[in-house]
Amino acid sequence: MNATMIQTSGLTRHFTVKKQTVKAVRGLDLQVEEGELVALLGPNGAGKSTTLRMLTTLIPPTSGTAAVAGYDVVVQQREVRRVIGYIGQGNGAAHSQRGRDELVSQGRAYGMSVRESRARAAELIASLDLAAVADRPVSSLSGGQKRRLDIAMGLIHAPRLLFLDEPSTGLDPQNRANLQEHILKLRAEHGTTIVLTTHYLDEADAMAERVIVIDHGTVIADDTPARLKAEHAGDLITLGFASASDAARAAARLDALAGAAVTAAGATVEVRVAGGSRLVPGIIRDLDAAGIAVESTAVNRPTLDDVFLNLTGRSLREGAVGNSGTDTVTAEEVAA
């Protein structure tokens, strides 16, 4: 069964901050099919969370419409709430409660019987590795444990559609990897439709089959990570030379390369081009033949940050936390 899970049309949300209108989301048109795993990627303040908050009925749109699982997010709030799971940026489980108690209450909120809720809570506690801490006050749990409990809270009613707002912010790399694993497993086992927001490039890259890049409240790109990179950014070949004059001569020759963007800085030349690793041997032979010795080479596959940079002229990494460094595939040192 393949149905449209999310359909928005001209979705817009304005906020008034100190008498000034902030257009957080401007005319968003979005369609997500059942079973998709979609990442909304964009810098802080791009409108990702505001979009999520509208889709989860937390705030009404200023204008435009949104339907989730076929229900209107303004007129049919309860129906929408029944089918979705939401894991927000904060902790879903109250710090004064115990994890298991919160899971059972959460099940009751979705109309599950006490027995069903208890059974489901036990199941999630086991699968999210929370057995040791489920009966302790939530306030005493570590950040990673709290986050796993949040995930369990969002899954209690086995939602068909799961929203995650910045799921891994504040987690260490190991916990982030665990979390990503859980989310991917969930999808593999239950075919849950998943929409997550992130400003971690590697996370969007690693998990999502579809990345929707949002900036200033509008969609600026929407495709698979591979196609986005192929279309909006090539590989980056970095060549090192003995001197700046060698580099300048090399840059002049490389300018002839079809579809390449060449920049020289000091004794280094950077070439942005598709299929970089296959071109490198030829480039080295060609430069060698011209009497220019290449001292080192590196080929970096493009990242989603390169895509974002290409689309907006700005880097996503500014203001982002964590290690979203370049994704080096081949970085061989070639002696000339």
């Binding site: 937390l58 904060g90 879903g92 009751r108 979705y110 109309g111 599950m112």
Partner: protein, 250 residues
């Protein structure tokens, strides 16, 4: 998945709120510290009334004070849940908005009963003359008031979403005038006219008057009726503004 109703939703919210209290019953006593201090250090200063201990007059007031303290503080629990994200999570569940406030407010009745029982149990050996029927009637009236005050405290918490200081400032500013004007610590009957006028505008005054009569085994119909009207009015107001605030909460 079976359906939910306003009642099941209210029960869900009520039980969730009550659970930390059941897990840690001692927490009920924390908000009683001030009333107990007044009971221990202030009551002995009061002159005995004709025909009995000063406690006969003072205990019902302390019961109301204890209720006022714990219900006015209760919004801070919600405020904390707003800050940590738990409140947002409940807003995305299908729980009905009125149930989110009604269930929470109804829970206030439980600590109130426990606190009243503690106060009465502590005071009876010291000369407080216990009239069980009267105390039960007094608790019933106070239960309605507790729901109203609790709902108002939750409303204040929702209004203080982005400004935590607002909650504590308003709570602290309102608490003591309400307390003093209700004649809980000292009678207002001999006060100046303006103070008596303010006192008669305070719904708690009527509740305190009725509690004193009821705890003493008397049942003056008009006094009790005034207390019922005042409590119901506060409860209706609290639940109305609370539901409105909860519907707007995001």
């Amino acid at each position: 998945m079976s359906g939910t109703t306003m009642i099941t939703d209210t029960v869900t919210v009520f039980s969730r709120e009550l659970r930390p209290v059941l897990r840690d019953p001692f927490s009920v006593v924390f908000s009683m510290i001030q009333p107990l201090v007044f009971l221990g250090l202030f009551a002995p200063l009061l002159p005995d009334v004709e025909g009995g201990s000063a406690l006969q007059w003072f205990v019902p007031g302390i019961v109301v004070m204890s209720c006022l303290f714990s219900t006015s503080f209760t919004g801070s629990n919600l405020l904390f849940e707003i800050q940590t994200g738990a409140h947002e999570r409940t807003l995305v569940t299908p729980l009905r908005r009125p149930a989110l406030i009604v269930g929470r407010a109804l829970k206030e009745i439980v600590p109130m009963i426990v606190q009243t029982a503690i106060i009465v149990a502590v005071c009876t050996p010291f000369g407080f003359d216990l009239h069980v029927g009267g105390v039960a009637a007094g608790v019933a009236i106070l239960a309605v008031m507790a729901v109203g005050l609790g709902a108002l405290s939750y409303t204040l918490a929702l209004a203080s979403k982005n400004t935590e200081w607002l909650f504590w400032t308003v709570q602290q500013t309102v608490l003591f005038p309400l307390l003093l004007l209700a004649g809980i610590l000292l009678p207002v009957d001999d006060g100046p006219g303006w103070l008596r006028a303010l006192s008669s505008a305070n719904p708690l005054t009527y509740v305190v008057d009725a509690e004193r009569a009821l705890f003493n085994g008397e049942f003056p119909a008009s006094t009790v009726l005034a207390a019922v009207v005042a409590s119901v009015a506060v409860a209706v107001l609290g639940l109305a503004v609370g539901t409105r605030a909860m519907r707007r909460s995001s």
